[in-house]
């Protein structure tokens, strides 16, 4: 039973355009969500997070949107840059437990 799903294994976007990565979850107890970025041969690095008390969090070019009723979150990257090419994982869990379930990842390729 996959509690966190990223249904798009890959995404290609032109440089300068918007990248939208999606994530769905099934567990209604989840109240904290994170996005990680992973380059080849490196460990994931934290990108941005959001708690369920908010529906949007922004950090520079990165914005995460949370739709609790739909159990859906998305990561927007504007404008996309070639250096953003990586695998993006969303993770969800209950705050306070520090136990997070990861999705399967979406490989983003930003074309110059």
């Amino acid at each position: 039973d996959q509690q966190v799903k990223q249904n798009s294994p890959s995404l290609s976007v032109q440089e300068g355009r918007i990248s939208i990565l999606n994530c769905d979850y099934t567990n209604s107890m989840f109240d904290y969500f994170l996005w990680y970025k992973k380059y080849p041969a490196e460990g994931p690095t934290f990108l941005i997070s959001i708690s369920s008390i908010k529906d949007k969090n922004e950090d520079g070019r990165f914005t995460v949107f949370l739709n609790k009723s739909a159990k859906h979150l998305s990561l927007h990257i504007v404008p996309s840059q070639p250096g953003d090419s990586a695998v993006y994982f969303c993770a969800a869990g209950e705050s306070g437990t520090y136990k997070y379930i990861f999705g399967t990842g979406t490989r983003l390729k930003v074309l110059a």
Partner: protein
């Protein structure tokens, strides 16, 4: 600030052999995690330590996997005996409570042949 250190980076062993991975978390981070990432999948939590106590090991195959965190700092993850399906990247991560943001090491890529 030094990151999470893991060794070795790569390991190839035959099935039924044993293997151990080492992790040194970021100084001061009380929480330490071991994840298994099989090719094409997201990281799966194997075990979570708070200082030197186990918080969650519900997904650790305890018949073959073991982990310890002595003195609440370094940690080792052992597999004995290894199976073909254990081929994966083993990631160590640490976090500074109470934030849920975890810092990951580069991982150890294990190939069981």
């Amino acid at each position: 600030e030094a990151g999470v250190a893991q060794s070795p980076r790569y390991k190839i062993i035959e099935k039924r052999q044993s293997v151990a991975f080492w992790c040194n978390p970021i100084s001061g981070h009380a929480t330490l995690y071991w994840y298994q990432q099989i090719l094409g999948q997201g990281p799966k939590l194997l075990i979570q330590f708070q200082n030197n106590g186990v918080v969650d090991d519900s997904q650790l195959p305890k018949d073959r996997f073991s982990a310890e965190r002595l003195k609440g700092v370094d940690s080792t993850l052992k597999i004995q005996p290894a199976k073909l399906e254990d081929s994966a990247v083993y990631l160590c991560a640490s976090s500074l409570d109470p934030t849920p943001r975890a810092f990951f090491g580069q991982g150890t890529r294990l190939t069981v042949v």
